[in-house]
């Protein structure tokens, strides 16, 4: 006798009148950490799914888009990246992509919620696989405090945060980006998860206003992620100088063949936004 279908319906913090439903097999984790409610599900068609405070963070089906673009775009645009800090990213997907580069010497990850890391190691092997690389150091700390103690140490800072409600709220404030700027080496850049152009353009514009005078160059790229609200998500590149909108390195062949989203052409295309978004952002 077939089981009755169970649906998970996302509750997004910024309601734009839509909600994604995902057909699930079962919930495998529900834990209230010190910071948030962590849930993991097995879904019918999208593999395993991580949910924080009711919001889908990733599914096994489409997390590759987000993590590949967040890592391979900056790694192929920065002239010589040696040291990278990931803020957030407890599932490990960012680190999994970073460890593909033999030239990287130091990968620090600062995640405030140790439970996300531990549960990801246990239940999300497809993202957490890179965390055991010897170049990786995990810090279970508040990213905003961490960066204040690491001046001019990183070529890239990748801010893989949840939405600006809840534990990640501080990661969207000007004060945090003053610290981020201070933690970057000359010619470095920070990238942050920066919402979606169709639903949350006003939030993106607020962010631009908050940090515009801190960074000589702001660049926004769009990535297709079907299980995020509106089917996409953007990253803002806050650069101390270099242009991140096209690659300056030849992607090593053994990296390229493992990629499912990123390519040099996709890299360049991601920075060309629909006319309304380009006009409104005025970057």
């Amino acid at each position: 006798m077939p089981e009755q279908t169970t649906w998970f319906y996302e509750k997004t913090p910024f309601d734009r009148g839509t909600s994604l439903g995902v057909k699930i097999v079962r919930k495998i984790v529900e834990k209230r950490s010190a910071f948030q409610t962590i849930e993991m599900y097995d879904t019918v068609d999208l593999g395993r799914m991580l949910v924080l405070d009711g919001v889908i963070q990733l599914t096994e089906f489409d997390e590759f888009s987000y993590h590949e673009m967040f890592v391979h775009v900056p790694m192929n645009s920065h002239p010589s990246p040696k040291s990278v800090l990931v803020v957030g990213g407890g599932d490990g997907g960012m680190v999994r992509e970073l460890v593909k580069y033999p030239g990287l010497e130091r990968i620090d990850m600062c995640e405030i919620d140790g439970d996300v890391i531990e549960l990801s190691k246990e239940h999300l092997p497809f993202t957490s696989s890179g965390l055991s690389d010897p170049r990786v150091t995990l810090y279970v700390e508040d990213g905003a405090v961490f960066i204040e103690n690491h001046k001019r140490e990183y070529d890239l800072i990748l801010i893989d945060s949840s939405d600006p409600i809840g534990p990640a709220e501080v990661l969207y404030k000007r004060a945090f980006y003053e610290g981020v700027k201070g933690a970057l080496k000359e010619g470095g850049a920070a990238l942050c998860q920066c919402e979606t152009i169709f639903f949350f353009l006003p939030l993106i514009k607020n962010f631009i206003s908050a940090v515009r005078d801190l960074f000589p160059r702001l660049q926004y790229m769009n990535t297709l992620v079907p299980t995020y609200p509106s089917g996409m998500i953007g990253q803002m590149v806050c650069s101390l100088g270099p242009d991140f909108s096209s690659p300056v390195h030849v992607l090593p062949e053994d990296v390229a063949k493992g990629l499912r989203y990123y390519s040099p052409n996709v890299h360049r295309a991601a920075f060309h936004l629909p006319a309304f978004a380009e006009r409104e952002m005025g970057l």
Copy 2:
């Protein structure tokens, strides 16, 4: 006292374990036509919405993406488009974009379901506004029969159909594309709604196999449409020769300023697909 929130949940014909929910104010139309069930809703955040057989066809919020790309990409890549046929497209959105070009002499639209046209004229003025242009002729007929009687008449044929289940099924068959090819003038092209790369790549590959030897050039472009499954939709360009992946005309300024999605850069970027899709399609 606030009304209780009502949600519309889409039933997609090809179930990939997700379903978009849209918060609605009220249903304004429900009609069983000779071909399908037509519904229209007022939504809370996305304006008016057209639904055919349970599947979202457009919302006032994001239909511009789809219609602008479907029209302005071919209009700016074909060397000299004078006559265009729209198959389907009863809501009028395609024609609204086409009539912006003074150089177009003939715009035929062949929609099988006259009820869609009439209800769109009544309830969807934002898409149906162009249907009264003197260059437009509406045919309420079966597109597959229509094209057999119009040999070598069109520079562009734009197939704005619903999914390949229901009344549009015939519009995805090889036999139909043999007719389409015959209805095109030399150097012309047909574009068709061609599903989404994340969810329905096997369908796209089937389509490629079915029509590959009919057209010397097949090119696939991706467009962001938040209310379609996975937040995007693709169009296949079936070209008798010209390359449609970049514009060859300068977009007239008065056309450009009214556009919310299309730009020459977006045109070029739309043909650069995520690595997995490019590899699998092998175009």
